[in-house]
Amino acid sequence: MTVANLSVVRESPAEAAIEVTGVNHVYHGREGEVAALEDISLNVNAGRFVVVVGPSGCGKTSLLMMMAGLRHQTSGTIHIQGRPILDPDPKRVGVVFQEASLFPWLTALDNIEFPLALRHAPREERRQRAEAMLTLVGLEGFGARYPHELSGGMKQRVSIARGLVQDPPVLLMDEPFAALDEQTRMTMGHELLRIWSQTAKTVVFVTHSLTEAVYLADEVLVMSARPGRIIDRIPVPLPRPRTYEMMATDTFGRLRDRIWQQIRKGA
């Protein structure tokens, strides 16, 4: 068990939006203590799109939840925008979950407004922001629909809009497209890149799909099986904007293959 060395002088690059330093996580399972995360350190510069991949149960979702302030690491520190994150802070971090997790009793627009309603923003401002987000995610005119009247892809669009409505600099996404069919998934990936390029957010995106990882990322972080460690950092040199044609290129194939090899080694 590594204990966080608090005396370490942390060099803080001005443009780092997310700094994870020496994070360990241990939880108490049925067979005693289980090490879930081991010595995770990573920096994500502002405006970058980082994808985290790894075998099931490697703790990538846990890591994301810690960055969101929804769970606490056993040791180590996580800084978002230069300040430690101890509790959820919607001004700094927006979260998009695997299930769209929309509230079924609220319309699409009211779902997007939810974070603003929590801090009692004026009604007019709420409406305006939510309408703008709805347009951004390409759902203009669907604001009055209830979640059960929307398709899976549309629900995730609403969920992304909800994550962006407070304009946080960081967006954390936990396998947001995992429940969608392949075609919708590709479309949503493309849409996400469009939204990202328009909003300049720092994104950390967890996925199981290697194709999705290469297609979306500036950099892919590969995690090992439990205890989760970062075993490789793979920069994706493909130019932007990304196109579907790139998937057929050798570079794309080689990158995907390298990630796959790393996952197999680490599993």
Binding site: D89, L118, Y146, H148
Partner: protein
Amino acid sequence: MTRLQLILTRLLLLALVLGAWEVLPRNGIINPILLPPLGDVLRVLAELLTRPQVHEAILVTASEVVVAFVIAVPLGTAIGVAAAESDYFGAIFKPMLFYVFSVPKSIFLPMFILTFGIGFPQKVAYAAFSTLFIVIMSATAAVESVRADHVLVARSYGATRGQILTRVYVPSMMPVLLEALRISMIFNFTGVMIAEMYASRTGIGHLISNWGENFQMPQLFAGVILLATVAIAFNEAVRWLETRFSTWRT
């Protein structure tokens, strides 16, 4: 089948049943002493509704029902939510609550009479007691219908405990709670009726029980129609609310 056809068919069926109730006893096909014709029953009902004694009975029964309901529903909801939310409280009390729930409450009626006499408090106490458990069970189910991911979303957007309660728990639980309200009223009404019919000096249940014992069939059926109307009206009112609150539950 269109909606209009459906309604017409239902009305036709109702007319058939009511018509049979009127015609069969009148022609002597059914013994009119056991089943008085509908017309006679309605005449008796209209006459009963003018009697001060009946007014008093209605008032007594209604206040018993309301007071028992007002005691049982909030109390049961509080206990049910506590049992679902607190692991400690739940682990201790849940099994016991389930055991008691399975026992017919009417066997406790003699104890209520010995404790409270046969007046107003006994009716209220017994009805509240017999309603409490269904409310507890429903409230527990309502809490368990709140999805963990909804709570997580609210937390991630900085919701306070109070906001999670009002903006996630309450709307999630509303459809189940309204259904519970409706079902608990059925239990509650039944409780009051049983208590009144078993031992009482007033109330509609007492009158119905008396009419039965004295073989006053038109009065007995008039009482049944009166009670059925009130019960159905309440049930339908809450059901209407339910559909309004749960359009999203599809």
